[in-house]
């Protein structure tokens, strides 16, 4: 039961990855891609890590650290990329 649940979570995570990464190839704006990418990367990776947590619970401390690192760092990276790339457009409009 636990094994099917952990494999299910890992597969859901991989589906999130593909869903977030596929629009990257199109030529949409940076912010559009960033939104779908940061949502899918963070949630997909957290689903995969929770799936791993169910598989081997004895090393739970490291995997919980990975989940927290993902939740904090990935969202802040998405914010920093959005801030830096959008301030770039303001400069171009000024010229």
């Amino acid at each position: 039961m636990i094994d099917t649940l952990s494999y299910g979570l890992i597969i859901v995570g991989i589906i999130f990855w593909f869903w977030g990464t596929l629009p990257l190839i199109g030529n949409r704006s940076v912010l559009f891609k960033l939104h779908s990418l940061s949502v899918s990367d963070t949630l997909g990776s957290m689903a995969i890590v929770v799936g791993l947590l169910l598989k081997i619970p004895n090393e739970w401390s490291l995997l919980v650290l990975a989940i927290m690192t993902l939740a904090i760092w990935n969202t802040v990276l998405g914010y920093v990329l959005a801030y830096c790339s959008s301030s770039n457009e303001k400069i171009i409009n000024k010229k």
């Binding site: 991989i14 990855w17 990257l24 190839i25 990776s45 760092w73």
Partner: protein, 83 residues
């Protein structure tokens, strides 16, 4: 678990192709951010597969330091564009 790893490698190829074919620096930064997250999660999966926890520690360090480095790089590029 091996087929899961192969699916992850395929998911990793898409941002690598995107980073190669796009010229805009911010699109490349997006692709690199995605590559960084995906490779560290793959390292975690491999460390669970092999039950070898030194790889797991390296994966978590790669995850946080890699993203911190990308943030600094984003600020650097912003300053360069302003100059």
């Amino acid at each position: 678990m091996d087929s899961i790893l192969i699916a992850m490698i395929l998911a990793l190829l898409i941002p690598i192709y995107e980073a190669w074919q796009d010229d805009d620096i911010w699109q490349k930064m997006l692709a690199f951010a995605s590559i960084a997250t995906k490779t560290s999660i793959m390292m975690l999966v491999i460390s669970v597969l092999r039950d070898d926890w030194s790889i797991g520690v390296v994966a978590v360090i790669t995850l946080s330091v890699g993203e911190a480095g990308l943030m600094l790089l984003a600020h650097l590029i912003k300053r360069l564009n302003e100059a």
